[in-house]
Amino acid sequence: MIKIVKYILLDILRNKIVLAYTLFLLAISFTVFSLEDSVQKGLLSLLNLILFIVPLVNIIFSTIYIYNSSEFIELLLSQPIKRRSIWLSLFIGLASALSISFLIGAGIPVILYCSSATGLMMVLMGVLISIIFVSIAMLATVKTRDKAKGIGVAIMLWLYFSLVFDGLVLFLLFQFADYPLEQPMIGLTAFNPLDLGRIMILLKMDVSALMGYTGAIFKDFFGTQKGLALSIFVMLLWICLPLLFSLRKFNRKDL
């Protein structure tokens, strides 16, 4: 299995798109930090850019890559290799390659300019979000046979997580404005890893006061060690569950 990971990883790292993604991240990180006069402000701008770009690139690149390696998968399937190893190797290859790009592209500038707890939290959340979206892409590709449809599904999923979900939450908030929604809001964030990541970073920045009463509740819950552990656990679930479902599906798939 390590050997297959090695071949996949080498193939991805040779890919020009991954290189371009790394350079792009590097460019925006350095630009943002040199444009803003305070590091905190720079970090906030970078946060919004990263939460927008990272999921998009990860989910689309992973989807296309998996579809394009269908020949590779077929070739390996006629060899004495477990199906599970092939699928997990693909996941490990994609997740590690894209995490490495993120660490180089955004991790290095963040550590250089702002090596505080906030900066570290941002790098950690960025890596987790990278892996989560690889995992979601694997589920999307195994469910749809057609490449164009699969990429469409990937884009829809990205739209859902970055725009539609927030819209739904706002809608709920306005509809039920008369009720105390602060506690349920904490539960709702678990359904979107992007929101969870954003809240974790914002809380470290001490700007939670800007979020009003809900911010205070968030601070009370996520600010503690228990809250931090719980939210990282939820993010790990976001990695494992789609991966496990896709693995189960792949084990019974006809190729």
């Binding site: 050997k3 297959i4 071949y7 193939d11 390696s69 269908s70 020949e71 590779f72 077929e74 070739l75 390996l76 399937l77 006629s78 060899q79 004495p80 290799i81 477990k82 199906r83 019974r252 798939k253 006809d254 190729l255």
Partner: protein, 236 residues
């Protein structure tokens, strides 16, 4: 050595394999023939574990293949249309497979030599012609000296010289007691190769017979005529 037990498979509404059962032993050279879309390739893919049957399954040396994967180290497979990672070179594909199979000694490089593939080792798979791709597939199938060889339309797309080389190789390995499973539409070229015939139609096995028995039964000496005779009799 290979046993099929009540295999059923349908893609949507289309029943591709319908209660397929047979068993074959060492040293047999089986021709799997039948009209297009009768389920030959699907049956082969079931044996390789690439297609999961709805019910029933294969046994390889008495072991259920659904649970295992190691049995595939004893199988060499040459697909009908070879599909390889396009940006890998021929040499890289060969190296990768030997690396994954962890078998570096005692490789059978006869076909690589006969097809003069070493000269093309730096060519990318995506740029190869259909015939060269078939040569690569054939070389890979024989490379690890497997006990069972599955060849799906082996000579389609090969030039006469190459297909002659491949046939010679099949004959040599047949003498070494390997089990062959060949699908083909060109019955005349199977004549001197195969020992048994499996005839499939609409997902059923119509007959599984030793070739000599078939020939004496219908009183023909040529395989093509014998099969045609049999088909006329079963349809009318």
């Amino acid at each position: 050595m290979i046993e099929a037990i009540n295999i059923n498979k349908s893609f949507g509404k289309l029943q591709v394999l319908n209660d397929i059962s047979f068993s074959s032993g060492v040293g047999e050279c089986i021709a799997l023939i039948g009209p297009n879309g009768c389920g030959k390739t699907t049956l082969i893919k079931c044996l390789l574990g690439m297609v999961v049957p709805d019910s029933g399954g294969f046994r390889f040396k008495g072991e259920d293949i659904a649970k295992g994967w190691a049995y595939r180290s004893l199988i060499g497979y040459m697909p009908q249309i070879g599909r390889y990672p396009e940006n890998m070179k021929i040499g890289q594909v060969m190296d990768m497979l030997t690396d994954i199979r962890q078998k570096h000694d005692g490789l059978d490089e006869d076909l690589i030599g006969a097809f003069q593939l070493k000269k093309l080792y730096n060519k990318r798979m995506g740029t190869l012609s259909g015939g060269t791709m078939q040569k690569v597939s054939a070389s890979i199938a024989f490379l690890f000296r497997p006990e069972v060889l599955i060849l799906d339309e082996p000579t389609a797309g090969l030039d006469p010289i190459a297909s002659e080389i491949l046939k010679e190789k099949i004959l040599v390995e047949k003498q070494n007691g390997k089990l062959f499973l060949i699908t083909s539409h060109i019955l005349s070229e199977l004549d001197d190769l195969v020992s048994h015939i499996v005839y499939m139609q609409d997902g059923h096995i119509i007959f599984y017979k030793a070739i000599d028995a078939l020939k004496t039964e219908v009183g023909e000496t040529k395989l093509a005529k014998a099969v045609a005779h049999f088909m006329n009799n079963t349809t009318s």
